[in-house]
Amino acid sequence: MRNEKARPQRMGHGPNRGSSEKPKDFKNAIKSMIKYLNKYIVIIVIAFILAALSSVLSIIGPNKLSDLTDVITNGLLTGINFDKVISIGAFLLSIYLLSAAFSYIQNFIMVTVSNNFARDLRNKISVKINSLPLKYFDSHSYGDILSRVTNDVDTINFSMHQSLGTLVAATTLFIGSIIMMFVTNWILAITAIVASLIGFAFMFLILGKSQKYFDQRQVQLGNLNGHIEEIYSSHNVVKAYNGNKDASDEFDKLNTNVFTCDRMSQFLSGLMQPIMQFIGNFGYVAVCVVGAILTMNGQISFGVIVAFMIYVRLFTNPLSQIAQGMTSLQSTAAASERVFEFLEEKEMEDESSLVKHLDSSKVKGSIEFKHVKFGYNKDKIIIKDFNCKVNPGEKIAIVGPTGAGKTTMVNLLMKFYNINDGDILIDGVSVKDLTRENIHDLFIMVLQDTWLFNGTIRDNIRYNKDHVSDESIMEALKTVGVDHFVKSLPGVLNYEIADNESISAGQKQLLTIARGMIKDAPFLILDEATSSVDTRTEELVQKAMDKLTEGRTSFIIAHRLSTIKNADLILVMNEGNIIEQGNHEELMKKNGFYAELYNSQFQN
């Protein structure tokens, strides 16, 4: 019997973002865009003028072409005036060349501007990431920020040089050709416009319909892709629980939805081009018929008809370009809204007014917590009133079940977050009077997630520290016991670390410990967890960690009994709060949370 438990309606997730995204506030988005574009404004205006000029030139073209036709028709009986043909031809040639040149220069300028602008934006985002408080990243996914750096900036870049120029050129062309038509002959002009308008009304009707299906398609495709992603990445469970049929049924349902939208959106959008063609032809016939009547009545020359044949084309093309340009401008606005929103996010407090400075080599290594009060949210205080004094060289163990908030201590010590009340004193100086940079200099931090970046082993070990000799790097590698491994790599210290590497989790951990050693600071924050490491490497890692704690005031997120038992002070944490403190014996005697935690390891 199949399980019929209802599955809730999926929301539109998945990798596909709508091509027709709408900004929340179009005007505002454009306004802030202009603000960021400030230094390029002059050159953009020049590009726009060029675009307009190029359009104007291509409008003059047909007029001259009609002159040429007239010259030829007039000469049909009497012989053609070749001087005139050549002079008009030369004039047309130069107009065409100029128009092409203007159009290219305009493109060139816009490409240059938009790419430089994109580069600026990317750099701004990169800098912004490092000046946002860590709090920001608690509530925003990396994927979201990454897509702003690449997708959104790319959208801005492309539509800036593609649609902005086209939009200006098309508008000029549109208005210009209307003016020229009226100047040339108002009757034919009205004929052409009316003939085209009928068609366009029809087209916009279809465009609106197809837009609806496009939006829907994006949503449905997102749902389908989400389902595929889910089932593929849960392959083993789906199989083991005989979920195949359920998955297939859901897939069929979503697949059919996509099919329906796919078909309609494609059909409707595919209509655009034939309709455009028909409008062109219809306009042509209308112009010809009316033109013929006028010619026969002797009101106009044949050349005027030729000119109008081209005007009809010039006049119908830009309308669809303008429509396209507007849609792409909308998605640009949506993209820039996201980028600017990120760039205008509140940054960490400015610290340039702080003058106190602790020299890393002179710090003795005492820390005192005085009535510390802290919460990630102002209305949810998790550390209420924490007091403790740590003497130079002491070892503090932080223990607690998973999710107890052990990293909170790291966050406070490193001033990643500001405390709400109370004070933390380093060698008697309040952290409030010290810059983050200064505090970071005083701490070595080795965390559980071994973070190595793409780059050489050398760069990874001496990270951001100049003048570190290869000898001292090798020395550090030797101390942590990973020197043999590094020597076995091609290029030794020059070996490039990349993703999917032959470097195991344990070796990575050893390398990050070596990095800590090179940094050499009076305080240490260490996360001992070595969950994904085999037993032999684990021993190595533990030895290296013990080495690192020597002679430093250390805060250790402890997972080993030997560390916990030898600690001068144990901080027991649960649900974000520090609930007990003392050394092992004291805490065991208390017979509280710690004792229970400790004993549960052996019960069965």
Binding site: M1, N3, K5, R7, P8, S58, G61, G75, G79, I80, G89, A100, A101, N107, V111, N115, N116, R119, N123, S126, V127, N130, Y142, V149, H161, L224, N225, E230, I231, Y232, S233, H235, N236, V238, A240, Y241, N242, D246, F251, F259, D262, R263, M264, G270, P274, Q277, N281, A292, M296, P401, T402, M414, F416, F443, W451, F453, K519, S562, E596, Q601
Partner: protein, 585 residues
């Protein structure tokens, strides 16, 4: 690419045929248009023509244009139907194929690659079929037909038109050669930029702890500069396309008129009007020819991408599933029994064995634990029981029957599997716990009980809508430990004969781990359990512990026995607990 078209059935081909005929009809109409234009031109030029005559010709022309529009609409309807059906079918085919894959095939392709193949690659092909199919048929017909129509008019005109086409094609080719390779580089640079940003984000604490913000930003700017330069080059090149195209088209018209002037001048009196109307017509045919060639060029640009996608899809479809389904689906006499008989396993194409000669037997109600360092083959044992892979040598019997003989659905009804990485589906807690089909109805009471045993009751009932609370895809709105517990509850709700825990307790703290196992034992007295674990504490009470070291079994026994006579076990044990603690246990 072409082989995928096998998926078209008779009806589809019929539609393609109808579309083809309609396209031919449409091209015929399109090319007929200039004839009427020329007729109209001639009439307008000639003294004393009847206005009725002009109207008549104009009417014909509109009829042609309307006919062309109508057939274009029908063709559009048909091709959109075909391309949407095609992608729907292909997607379905791919999805079913992947569902039947064993782990070996999944690993070969990688999950993320399979996802892109089923989504993006199919979209790519669909786009190509939707746009390309029409163009592919229309462009050559138009080109050839239009060329034929203008060839006999005047060789000078044909020559300039030919030259214009040549120049355009050259331009497209040159652009492709210079820009295409750079496009790939741009993609790589974008990946790099993404990589650096991701790196900065994942290591944000480290970056700040080392005051290395500047360092990261400079690294980013380096690549950013490179990317900007490369992209600028590409876009500047591509920007040439449209001005040059318009220039060529304009120049072509100009040349035709210019040449026309000379031709007319040189011609006999009678021919002059004829040549003149030919000239107007010719310039519009010439545009058609150029458009047709541009369309062909577009197809050549689009084709490689679609072809790569097609290749990637075919690769999946052509892959044989290595794990073949069996037929056995009758009730067995014995239940809850697992036996490994000299089982060895190596990955296909690999030289080294992952598991060597493993034998053990578990009876109903037993708890079997498997321990060893990473890479020792613990999870492989689970994967073999679950038949995600097939053994290389030896056999695995469940309830006395070889796992290969079972109908998979039947086999899976006996097994309650909890993977290392907890899997959550988008849906309610209820949906997640009751997930799948075990041939029995799962009552709400059962779900609640399973949730309680898995120590998930407390947090589930604290959630806003309790058992109806939605879990996001991948379980991003609950913690790792909570996911793990729900995943265990799912196995309990299935009421299997045999539980299989593949390192399923690692995300739980010691205390929860302990309580959960105690409750589970109480709840499932008769069920057999296979537990893969890293922590000694988790398995200390198992009936039988199997110690693995690089694929071989180096010890079997209880905790006490192994402490005495198994070096590897002792090593693992001492790294986690102190001597006195172990002995007290």
């Amino acid at each position: 690419m072409l082989k995928l078209l096998k998926n078209f059935d008779k009806k589809d081909w019929l539609i393609v045929l109808v579309a083809l005929l309609l396209i031919v009809f449409q091209v015929w109409l399109d090319l007929k248009l200039p004839d009427y234009m020329s007729e109209i031109t001639r009439l307008v030029q000639t003294e004393g023509s009847e206005i009725n005559e002009v109207l008549k010709q104009g009417g014909y022309m509109l009829l042609c244009a309307g006919g062309s529009l109508a057939s274009a609409m029908i063709v559009g309807y048909l091709t959109s139907f075909i391309s949407a059906t095609f992608s729907q079918k292909l997607r379905k085919q791919l999805f079913e194929k992947v569902q039947n894959f064993g782990m070996e095939e999944i690993k070969k392709f990688s999950t993320s690659s399979l996802i892109t193949r089923t989504t993006n690659d199919i979209t790519n092909i669909q786009m190509f079929i939707a746009m390309g199919l029409q163009m592919l048929i229309k462009a050559p017909i138009t080109a050839v037909w239009a060329v034929l129509k203008i060839l006999d008019k005047s060789w000078q005109w044909s020559a300039v038109t030919g030259a214009a086409v040549l120049v355009l094609i050259m331009m497209v080719i040159i652009l492709m050669i210079t820009v295409m390779p750079k496009f790939k580089l741009v993609q790589k640079l974008i990946d790099k930029i993404n990589g650096i940003t991701r790196e900065n984000l994942t290591g944000i604490r480290v970056v700040r702890a080392f005051n290395a913000e500047k360092y990261q930003e400079e690294k980013f700017d380096d690549k950013n500069k490179e990317l900007t330069k490369m992209q600028m080059f590409n876009q500047r090149m591509m920007a040439l396309m449209s001005p040059v195209m318009y220039l060529i088209m304009n120049l072509l018209t100009l040349s035709i008129y210019f040449i026309g002037a000379y031709l007319i001048d040189a011609a006999q009196m009678m021919d002059k009007v004829n040549i003149f109307s030919n000239m107007v017509v010719f310039s519009s045919y010439a545009m058609q020819v150029i458009m047709a060639f541009l369309m062909l060029a577009m197809i050549f640009i689009m084709y490689p991408r679609a072809n790569v996608s097609a290749g990637r899809i075919r690769e999946v479809i052509d892959t044989e599933t290595s794990v073949k389904d069996g037929k056995f689906d009758k009730p067995t006499k014995i239940t809850g029994e697992i036996e490994f008989k000299n089982v060895s396993f190596k990955y296909p194409d690999a030289d080294e064995y992952v598991l060597k000669d493993i034998s053990f037997k578990a009876k109903k109600g037993d708890t079997i634990a498997i321990i060893g360092s990473t890479g020792s083959g613990k999870s492989t044992i689970v994967n073999l029981i679950m038949r995600f892979y097939d053994v290389t040598d030896g056999e695995i019997l469940i309830d006395g029957v070889n796992v290969k003989k079972y109908k998979q659905e039947y086999l899976y009804n006996k097994l309650g599997y909890v993977p290392q990485k907890a899997v959550m589906f988008s849906g309610s807690v209820n949906y997640n716990v009751s997930y799948g089909d075990n041939g029995k109805e799962k009552s709400d009471k059962l779900i609640k009980e399973a949730t309680r045993v898995a120590q998930a009751k407390e947090f589930v009932e604290k959630m806003p809508k309790k058992y109806e609370t939605d879990i996001a895809q991948g379980g991003t709105n609950i913690s790792g430990g909570q996911k793990q517990r729900l995943s265990i509850a799912r196995a309990i709700a299935k009421e299997p004969e045999i539980y299989i825990f593949d390192d399923s307790f690692s995300a739980l703290d010691y205390k929860t781990d302990y309580v959960l196992r105690k409750e589970l034992k109480k709840y499932t007295k008769d069920a057999t359990s296979v537990i893969v674990a890293q922590r000694i504490g988790t398995i200390i009470n198992a009936d039988k512990i199997i110690v693995l070291d690089s694929g071989s079994c180096v010890g079997v026994g209880t905790h006490k026995e192994l402490l005495k006579n198994c070096d590897v076990y002792r090593e693992i044990a001492y790294s986690q607990l102190s001597k006195e603690e172990l002995e007290n246990a």
